[in-house]
Symmetry: C2
Subunit: 236 residues, 2 copies
């Protein structure tokens, strides 16, 4: 985010204060939830008056948007780091690493997770700045699928791809700039969908009183998804 080192003292102070504001806001968010995030409370804790805060964020929603972007990046980074730590050839290890990193982060930061993968709180379309950080886990996953031997993807789950869908897939391919065939792309998308479906269920309490803890069903389902996507469980 920091474009260049702030020059003047005022600019430095501004950058620091902005960071302090988002940090306290993040703490408040973690404790109470997005609905209870109060500009006034944040300002109070920082020893300033509420109106002063509007010099740094034009509205409450702007503050929330910043938190959303940060959350996307934090989750994305956690996934990328975990994936990097795996041997390149260990596809299933990389897949599991991404899944667990995402899940662990979500469980550790449920409110921030809810902010980005729950219902859109402020009520509207995500600003432009969020779509890039938001696609980091998916990009990771596609990068993984591309290294998979196409022959591995089980034909048993092959479903015909109609023309309009193929067009959308091509556009997506162009976006991520990765040469990958439709079969593997769709397989990856299904795995992606299942992963976040799973995390949603757990974090939003759908597994309460049934799968508690949810560790085992999580592991089981991501392995199933891996197999369905053509990632063999045993590394060769």
């Amino acid at each position: 985010m920091p474009e260049s080192a702030p020059t003047t003292a005022r600019a430095r102070a501004r950058a620091e204060l902005t960071a302090e504001i988002t940090n306290t806001a993040r703490r408040h968010l973690a404790e109470k939830g997005p609905g209870e995030l109060s500009l006034r409370a944040v300002a109070r804790e920082l020893g300033m008056v509420s109106s002063a805060l509007y010099r740094y964020f034009p509205s409450r929603d702007a503050l929330l948007t910043q938190l959303i972007i940060d959350a996307y990046n934090a989750l994305g980074e956690a996934c990328e780091e975990a994936e990097r730590a795996q041997r390149r050839t260990d596809l299933i290890g990389r897949w599991r690493a991404v899944c667990h990193a995402a899940r662990d982060w979500a469980i550790a930061h449920p409110q921030e997770y809810a902010l980005i993968y729950g219902s859109p709180v402020p009520g509207y379309a995500a600003p432009k700045d969020t779509i890039d950080p938001a696609s980091r886990p998916l990009a990771l996953l596609i990068g993984l699928m591309v290294e998979l031997d196409e022959a591995e993807v089980p034909a048993s789950t092959d479903v015909p791809i109609p023309r309009p869908l193929a067009t959308q897939l091509s556009a997506m391919r162009a976006e991520h700039d990765i040469p990958i065939d439709n079969r593997r792309l769709m397989a990856g998308l299904s795995a992606w969908t299942l992963l976040f479906g799973l995390i949603n269920f757990e974090v939003f309490g759908r597994f309460n009183n049934t799968f508690e803890p949810a560790d085992q069903i999580f592991d089981h389902q991501i392995d199933r998804a891996a197999l369905a996507a053509g990632i063999p469980l045993k590394n060769r």
Copy 2:
């Protein structure tokens, strides 16, 4: 919901007013979202003062909880009705009917859907009254899986089930009182997870600018999930 016909005039009036309140609240919710649902606004529209509303609902959260229960039931009913309309032997037809009913309802009532499958708004654990209506779509799905020939479930996606998970599955089986083996149960759970992962992605805007419309990717993915769960695409 109505346990028995209200006897006294006052009781009848109370029942009617309660219904009117939830209805206007539902309308407001649909227009603006859960965060903007204002008790005072609802009261205003009904020509009463805000404090009078507290005779019918002890708090704003209680009103929201009622809307949540209604939403669960509406979604569940939509799914059940669609599923009932299919030939019993047409498993893939039943699966697709459930999926499309759920998706259509979610798209038609995004805010209500967000209320039940998005982030938990009031901030917490769903009250007891919600867990039963909430499980209707899953129950439907399990009822579908049980009619599937066990041999159909492809071994290619078999993943070992550790002991603790098996225990949780048994408890679940007992709950729904349906004799189904772990393989099919897990296959059904994966399909269930993917379905709502998909709907979440679409309703919460994750497919914007990529899969728009999302009809094709939806159909493709639910068919993939069907195959993975052992439901053949072609009816015999």
